[in-house]
């Protein structure tokens, strides 16, 4: 009975670790899809507009954004070599990295929210290696995709 209890404990730990790793794999796939989708969109726009947008109107990846109310006053200190910045805000702010911005732009087809149209799902699957297509399909499904993947394997 004690051995069974130990095995049961080990099993629960492993299931928790698999859940975390599943989320990590999903995030990596979403970032990959969003990045490729963004590059494709930009290339199509450049073809239509016969060239890239003005340099000062584009922000190359990777970047961070800090957004805050228009009324916030920000005190900024900068070292002379621009290696160090110190910002003091008098109001709350938010920090997001580029992968979050791409998701909000819809570059990952809403997969992160489990809402993805059939056409977008096809496009998303075309942006990842064939071996991982199944995970994209599961991601857009209702039930937890890892269980389906586990069962099938």
């Amino acid at each position: 009975a004690q051995e069974c209890q130990n095995l049961e404990t080990e099993k629960q730990k492993r299931i928790e670790r698999i859940k975390e790793k599943r989320a990590q794999l999903q995030e990596l796939l979403l970032q990959q899809i969003a990045f490729k989708n963004l590059v494709q969109r930009n290339q199509q726009n450049e073809q239509q507009n016969q060239g890239p947008p003005a340099l000062n109107s584009t922000i190359q990846l990777p970047f961070l954004i800090v957004n805050t109310s228009n009324r916030t006053v920000i005190d900024c200190s900068i070292s002379s070599d621009k290696f160090e910045y110190l910002f003091n805000f008098d109001n709350t702010f938010e920090i997001h990295d580029d992968s979050e911005v791409l998701k909000r732009m819809g570059m990952s087809f809403g997969l992160e929210a489990g809402k993805c149209s059939a056409d977008d799902l096809r496009t998303a699957k075309s942006l990842v290696p064939k071996a991982l297509e199944g995970y994209i399909t599961d991601m857009s499904a209702e039930f937890p995709w890892i269980n389906q993947r586990l069962l099938s394997s």
Binding site: F35, P62, Y85, M105
Partner: protein, 106 residues
């Protein structure tokens, strides 16, 4: 029950190993993709891996919010102080200058 638990553990072990391999593969792919010479940080020739100011304004309501963009070399340290004392953010680079600019409102 003991035999069944051992079998389930073996299956979970295999599934976890499969996930580890896939995560490793995807991490390498994403790094190659984003650090591809053409998409290298501060590229000599801009590549298609960019967002426009219009994109940023589409995710943040420009009538309410201002957006500050931080472009920093890899391994730059960003520290946020304890919000109960001050709303302070410090950014410190060791590999090159940091660029900060406000996304224009229109």
């Amino acid at each position: 029950r003991h035999r069944l638990l051992e079998k389930e553990l073996r299956e979970l072990q295999a599934a976890e190993r499969q996930l580890d391999d896939l995560i490793q593969m995807c991490t390498v792919q994403l790094r190659l993709l984003t650090e591809d010479p053409a998409n290298q940080q501060y590229p000599l020739v801009p590549t298609a891996a960019y967002v426009t100011c219009q994109d940023l304004r589409s995710v943040v309501d420009p009538s309410e919010q201002m957006v500050m963009v931080i472009k920093a070399p890899p391994e730059t340290q960003l520290q946020v102080s304890d919000p109960t004392e001050a709303f302070q953010v410090s950014v410190r680079s060791t590999q090159g200058p940091i660029d900060v600019f406000l996304c224009p409102e229109d």
